[in-house]
């Protein structure tokens, strides 16, 4: 339907339609470039990394180190939320603790290195530093609270249905 709308706009020279189509095209291209590669990495991760490894670094026994790993991992995330979600889900289904997975998602939104550099260059280093110092503890704290309250609802043996 959307494609038809774009086509009709193109035929009748309907400006809003053409502009929206242009946006759409630009996004599809720029995101596919990231998504394709990111999913190949996720595929490799699923095949090669053992469940035990994920459990050791991100599982119940990992303690506070799991959160540090999650933040380090998130800072290297490329793309945006749309990459972080599938990565987070992979971690989760390989036995990572939910609160750590949530920390990863939250931190991926906040600490991505290229993004932070970009931010600091437009808004100043002070801005970025305050933002990081305030947000990271809050993200960890809220992830622990949410994670713990949801983890009880999930059968730990069969980590699948979250709904």
């Amino acid at each position: 339907m959307f494609l038809m709308f774009l086509l009709i706009s193109l035929v009748f020279n309907f400006t809003p339609g053409i502009k929206i189509g242009g946006n759409f095209y630009e996004f599809v291209i720029s995101m596919l470039k990231v998504l394709l590669f990111a999913f190949i990495l996720i595929g490799l991760f699923e095949v090669w990394v053992k469940k035990e490894t994920v459990e050791r670094y991100f599982g119940n026994a990992s303690g506070y180190k799991g959160y540090i790993w999650a933040i380090i991992l998130s800072s290297t995330t490329v793309g945006g939320a749309y990459v972080a979600f599938p990565v987070a889900y992979s971690l989760y289904s390989k036995g990572a603790k939910l609160s750590i997975v949530l920390t990863y998602i939250g931190a991926a939104a906040l600490t991505r290195i290229p993004m932070t550099i970009f931010e600091a260059s437009f808004l100043g280093i002070k801005f970025s530093v305050i933002r990081l110092l305030v947000s990271i503890p809050l993200v960890i704290l809220s992830s622990i609270v949410i994670g713990n309250s949801f983890e009880h609802n999930v059968n730990p043996k069969q980590k699948k249905p979250l709904d």
């Binding site: 990111a38 190949i40 490799l44 906040l110 305050i130």
Partner: protein
């Protein structure tokens, strides 16, 4: 971006040398996952392209340049939550807003909700983590973003207690 290509290419190459079958399996896994998420993904992109048309940079600048800092902060958080922009658009835009006299607190509210709260990515997030958890996470993130904005406002001396 190049970083991602190098890492992916390198890993794929090493993986292929170590074990051909596993590598092919990995590619199949990747393909299966892409296929599964693609419909939600397209939905999100359609929403974003319509949104960016309805809310161009200029409109955003117009609405955030007012004098009531708290009203602007809340407005900015609403805009940030419903919009999604890639970083290469969002931060230059923030820079422009700053030059137009928009307060740091308002910009922080906008950029933080932009990154943390995703109404448009909801279909994707839901696909992975279920509706309930997605709602809870986004609502929490919204308040965290507001707290960040307040901290920025205080430390830049824009808000006095």
């Amino acid at each position: 971006m190049i970083f991602l290509y190098v890492i992916t290419g390198g890993s794929l190459f090493i993986s292929f040398i170590l074990n051909k079958d596993k590598t092919i399996k990995a590619l199949k896994v990747a393909w299966k996952k892409i296929k599964k998420i693609l419909p939600s993904f397209i939905k999100m992109l359609i929403l974003i392209s319509v949104m960016l048309y309805l809310l161009p940079d200029k409109t955003i600048a117009k609405y955030l340049g007012g004098t009531n800092i708290f009203r602007e902060t809340i407005l900015a958080s609403a805009l940030g939550s419903i919009t999604i922009m890639p970083g290469f658009i969002a931060f230059p835009l923030s820079g422009i807003l700053l030059n137009k006299g928009v307060k740091y607190m308002v910009i922080s509210s906008f950029s933080s909700t932009l990154m943390m709260v995703g109404i448009l990515t909801f279909p994707i997030e839901k696909e992975y983590f279920g509706t309930k958890l997605t709602v809870v996470r986004n609502v929490t993130s919204y308040f965290i973003a507001l707290i960040i904005a307040l901290a920025i406002g205080l430390l830049y001396g824009e808000v006095l207690l």
